[in-house]
């Protein structure tokens, strides 16, 4: 450890030498890493925004359970209470006749006058159940099993669409992150392998002098880390500009998109990119280091 700390300056200097000894190739590697991280950052930012959208869509997933007209208000409230405790149910509340009437009036808007043709309020009270869209089928089955429930309006096709959109967004995001991770690891490990090959004589000499694999390999780990962290910093700066610009455009022209607070998004993207840079840089370097044995 004493040696390690006193050699830190040497390790960093060696890492710098390795980078600058093959400038052109490393510039390409750096540029490639920045572009890949930019892709990742875009996915992360998009994911952040879409997770709000997904959250909203999930909140909208609901079924309506119509109960026996014999139930009084207290019994209806007790039934809603029971339903709210079911697995996969986020919330259940009684919508009484007058609220149902007001909602329809709101939906019909300019055509709401048609409701005045009725002598009495034609709408029944029901229980509005907000559910996890991934568990629609099982919840509907359970709700139907309650003897007090007469009819369940499930909006299955809407719920299915919501669920498909959510799954689609999550799958595409996961695939892109996976692909970006693997690509970065390959690029960095290839760069390290190239560095090791270029310095093979020095590595052989150090081994003959009794240097440990850690001593020989640490400058190469530093190279991988420097390159990815520098790429991460540049990517974060570019994202700062892009997100600022994006908020100006999207916030103004598409106001219904639920954008998260800008500072939160910037912080989230920067943290993910820097964290991923460090992790991928280390993994890539360690993979690349395995070629030291061949020298």
């Amino acid at each position: 450890m004493k040696n390690f700390i006193s050699n830190l300056g040497y390790f960093f200097k060696e890492a710098g030498r390795i980078i600058f000894s093959n400038k052109l190739s490393n510039i390409f590697t750096f540029s490639g890493t920045v572009l890949i991280l930019l892709m990742l950052a875009s996915v992360v930012a998009g994911w952040n925004v879409s997770s709000r959208l997904v959250g909203m869509l999930e909140e909208e997933a609901e079924i309506s359970a119509f109960f026996d007209e014999d139930l009084d208000q207290k019994e209806a409230l007790e039934l809603a209470e029971k339903l709210s405790k079911l697995d996969g149910v986020r919330n259940a509340r009684v919508v009484d006749e007058s609220e149902a009437y007001e909602r329809m009036k709101e939906i019909l808007a300019d055509d709401a006058g048609i409701l005045e043709l009725f002598e009495h309020n034609p709408f029944k009270a029901y229980i509005e159940i907000r559910i996890d869209p991934g568990r629609t089928e099982s919840i509907i089955e359970t709700v139907r099993g309650f003897k007090e429930i007469g009819y369940v309006r499930d909006n299955k096709s809407v719920l299915k669409s919501i669920n498909d959109i959510i799954r689609g967004i999550k799958t595409i995001g996961t695939l892109i992150i996976f692909a970006v991770g693997i690509t970065t690891v390959i690029i960095i490990s290839h760069m390290i392998r190239q560095g090791i090959y270029n310095n093979r004589d020095q590595i052989k000499t150090l081994r003959l002098l009794g240097a440990s694999p850690m001593f020989i390999g640490f400058p190469f780990i530093c190279v991988g880390l420097f390159m990815t962290v520098a790429a991460g910093i540049l990517t974060s700066l570019v994202m700062l500009i892009l997100i600022n610009k994006g908020y100006q455009i999207m916030g103004g022209s598409i106001p219904f998109i639920p954008l998260p607070p800008k500072a939160d998004l910037l912080l989230g993207v920067t943290l993910v990119i820097m964290g991923v840079s460090i992790i991928l840089g280390t993994i890539g370097s360690l993979f690349g280091l395995s070629s030291i044995k061949d020298q």
């Binding site: 004493k2 040696n3 000894s21 000499t205 150090l206 003959l208 002098l209 009794g210 440990s212 001593f215």
Partner: protein, 225 residues
């Protein structure tokens, strides 16, 4: 210090480099290995430092058997050896000082000791004034001395020098041999492989190992150095 027992070394291409040789080197010994090119001098040194492994027989250095399976032990053994390679193996793009320091950074020295040992070693080989010169800008003789400085800065128990006088004129060659010989101390042995037999004709209190076609004969010379 070194025990070579019935060792043969055959390379993959079938060349028999060493043929059933025996050799013992004690502490505080100065050994010259001589013989024509291709006689097996370098092969013997390679076995001692663990660059090659015997086809048959055993090589023990400081009690440690040289074996491919014992890489950790081999690494710690190499830390006790100061090698001077025939082809020098200096790292280009670094100064003489950096090359010497690079050879001792992973040994048990503090940061201050590393710098001090390197400076002392360069002074001993008369190259203090070239400490900051890039090794590729040095003459062969100077580079040779940097290589020796790297070996002695390690404070090794065994110095192995392979053809350290190659490509040098007579005066420089004698100078290099004298520098190396001066490091034979209480617990340090020095082994020098050279084909320049005329340079060691009058050496006293040394062991001369003569090699020829993979076989050896040993002559122990007494007298005052």
């Amino acid at each position: 210090m070194i025990e070579v027992k019935e060792v043969s070394l055959r390379y993959r291409d079938g060349t028999l480099a060493l043929n059933n040789i025996n050799l013992t080197v004690g502490d505080n010994e100065l050994v010259y290995i001589t013989g024509p090119s291709g006689s097996g001098k370098t092969s013997l040194l390679k076995l001692i430092i663990g660059m090659e492994y015997p086809t048959s027989g055993t090589v023990k250095v400081m009690g440690q058997e040289i074996s491919e399976e014992k890489s950790d032990e081999l690494r710690s053994l190499r830390k006790k050896i100061g090698p001077v390679f025939q082809e020098l193996k200096l790292v280009p793009g670094r100064s003489a000082m950096e090359n010497v320091m690079m050879g001792i950074r992973f040994l048990d020295f503090s940061g201050q000791e590393i710098r001090r040992n390197a400076a002392d070693a360069l002074e001993k080989v008369g190259l203090s004034h070239k400490a900051d010169s890039m090794v590729e800008n040095l003459s062969w003789g100077e580079a040779q001395r940097v290589s020796i400085a790297r070996a002695i800065a390690r404070k090794p128990r065994l110095i192995l020098a392979d053809e350290p006088t190659g490509n040098l004129d007579h005066d420089n060659a004698v100078n290099i041999l004298n520098i190396l010989a001066s490091f034979k101390q209480k617990d340090t042995s020095v082994i020098i492989a050279t084909h320049a037999t005329h340079l060691i004709e009058n050496q006293k209190n040394v062991t001369i190992v003569r090699m020829n076609q993979g076989s050896i004969s040993v002559e122990k010379r007494g007298g005052k150095e």
